[in-house]
């Protein structure tokens, strides 16, 4: 993850300044894939001509309905709040535990079994247990998200801490950097790649488990709506909810998380697509 030896030439600057045509081209393969997928699906639906395999227009109509009657934003808001709270909890705990593990041998040995155990327990198990223990309380989804994403986060941050250059810490010590400066200017930037990788991983785990929790034990949220659609055998609605959810996740991932990461790691200049 170190890019200290990456030396950008004039090319990097040129790419950064290059206007839209290139950028549009960059998305072309992805768009092509989606168009082909939709076409293939439509072909299959037409050939099968079966009520449980709705065509593309039916799915799109369903999506438009869900969005335009306002239920999507409401339900999405509820789900995002649950994921957000659970993820924030996991993140804070993981930063503390992960750094402790990286800096202290006892802490590492102490938390290692918890991390390994946590990594192997399926999100489904956490979802079931939390539904049983906490019922329809807000604690339920928050705990399930936190429990299922924290181990992966801890591992990421622990490994990031280990990779912080001890030479730089020595330098900071000799030049008497204050604790605050050392944290802000050395630790955080050095940990940034692992923090982002951890955030990405933790969020994706959180999304998966929240839908399960909402299917089993909640009376609101995207998972609950999915379950309703499923019970009514409305396949178009199941697909519509899933697609909308996936779009929002993609926006979060590519629009927000990646944009933030690019800003933070501008100095790297290594172009990541």
């Amino acid at each position: 993850m170190t890019a200290t030896d990456v030396r950008p030439g004039p090319v990097a600057a040129a790419v950064a300044k290059a206007p839209h045509p290139r950028r549009r081209l960059r998305f072309l393969p992805a768009v092509l894939f989606l168009v082909l997928l939709a076409a293939a699906w439509q072909l299959m639906a037409t050939l099968l001509d079966f009520v449980l395999v709705p065509g593309v227009p039916a799915i799109v109509t369903e999506m438009v309905d869900i969005v335009s009657d306002g239920s999507f934003l409401d339900q999405l808001g509820i789900t995002v709040l649950r994921v957000g709270l659970g993820f924030a909890l996991a993140f804070v705990v993981a930063v503390v535990v992960g750094i402790a593990m990286g800096r202290n041998e006892f802490a590492r040995r102490f938390f290692e079994p918890a991390v390994l155990l946590g990594l192997t327990i399926p999100g489904l198990v956490w979802a079931l247990l939390c539904v049983i223990w906490f019922g329809i309380d807000l604690v339920n989804p928050v705990a399930a998200v936190a429990l299922s994403s924290a181990p992966a986060l801890m591992l990421q941050i622990y490994q990031g801490t280990r990779s912080v250059d001890p030479d730089l810490l020595e330098m900071a010590h000799v030049y008497r950097f204050s604790r605050r400066v050392t944290l802000r200017k050395l630790w955080l930037p050095a940990l940034a790649p692992s923090l982002f990788a951890g955030a990405r991983l933790g969020l994706s785990l959180g999304w998966k488990v929240i839908v399960l929790v909402e299917v089993f034990g909640m009376s609101s949220g995207v998972g609950y709506q999915l379950n309703n659609a499923f019970a009514a055998q409305n396949v178009a609605a199941v697909l519509a909810w899933t697609l909308l959810f996936a779009i929002v996740m993609a926006i979060l991932e590519y629009g927000i998380l990646q944009g933030l990461e690019k800003r933070v790691s501008r100095w790297r200049k290594a172009v990541s697509v």
Binding site: T4, Y175, F177, K185, P189, W267
Partner: protein, 229 residues
């Protein structure tokens, strides 16, 4: 700065065998003096410097430095790659004007706003030198500051170091494996050899600054140091 009876033993992480790098080692550097420590690699020069800097705790002995403001140039530049060159310096010296001044002195004014990653190795090491001088150190520690550079760049930086030193003489310890560098820059050269390391030879360099690398007197001294190594 005084070292008195310093002892340091490292235990090899793999084999578990202890090796005594320093034993009962003493050295005094007078105020205003620049002392060069010359020795083959692995003799314990870096260890010695780190003891002085407080980065390594000696097993025995005392270090009297009077808690000086330290300026240090490591073998590698050790810059924060995510901060601009200028900010790398201001973080150490808390003084933007000072940072600009030292950057001008090392000829890197135009790179003040750049990230260190766009600089060449020699330029990065110049930033490290600038940072060391920016803090107005009472004690300047240099650990083979130019050994990772090509000879041409190293030669330029040695003369630059001499210039900076002449502007503001202070107390300094220069570790190097290059005898000519030691003779060119130092007031006194000590040769370190053996395990545990001891002072095998000691030379005074009574030449006015600025000195030139072509000075025959320095070259002769260089030959003596090589012989002692």
């Amino acid at each position: 700065m005084r070292l008195e009876g310093i002892g340091k033993t490292f235990v090899d992480a793999r084999s578990g065998t202890p090796q005594q790098v320093l034993a009962d080692f003493s050295l005094t550097v007078e105020p205003g003096e620049l002392v060069a420590v010359v020795g083959a690699s692995g003799t314990g020069k870096t260890t010695l410097l780190h003891v002085v800097a407080g980065l390594v705790q000696p097993d025995t002995g005392t270090v009297e430095t009077g808690d000086p403001r330290l300026g240090i140039v490591f073998q590698q530049p050790r810059l924060l790659d995510w901060l601009s060159v200028r900010e790398n310096i201001t973080l150490a010296c808390h003084d933007g004007a000072k940072a600009d001044e030292v950057l001008a002195a090392v000829g890197l004014t135009e790179y003040a706003g750049s990230y260190p990653t766009v600089l060449s190795g020699g330029q990065r090491q110049r930033v490290a030198v600038a940072r060391a001088f920016a803090v107005e150190p009472d004690l300047l520690l240099l650990d083979e500051p130019f050994s990772a550079l090509d000879e041409l760049t190293a030669r330029k930086l040695r003369l630059l170091l001499q210039d900076l030193w002449m502007q503001r003489p202070r107390t300094g310890l220069l570790v190097t494996h290059n005898p000519l560098e030691a003779a060119l820059l130092a007031d006194r050269v000590i040769v370190l050899a053996g395990r545990p390391a001891r002072i095998a030879a000691e030379y005074r360099v009574d030449r006015e600054r600025p000195r030139s690398a072509e000075d025959p007197h320095l070259f002769e001294l260089h030959s003596q140091i090589v012989a002692a190594l």
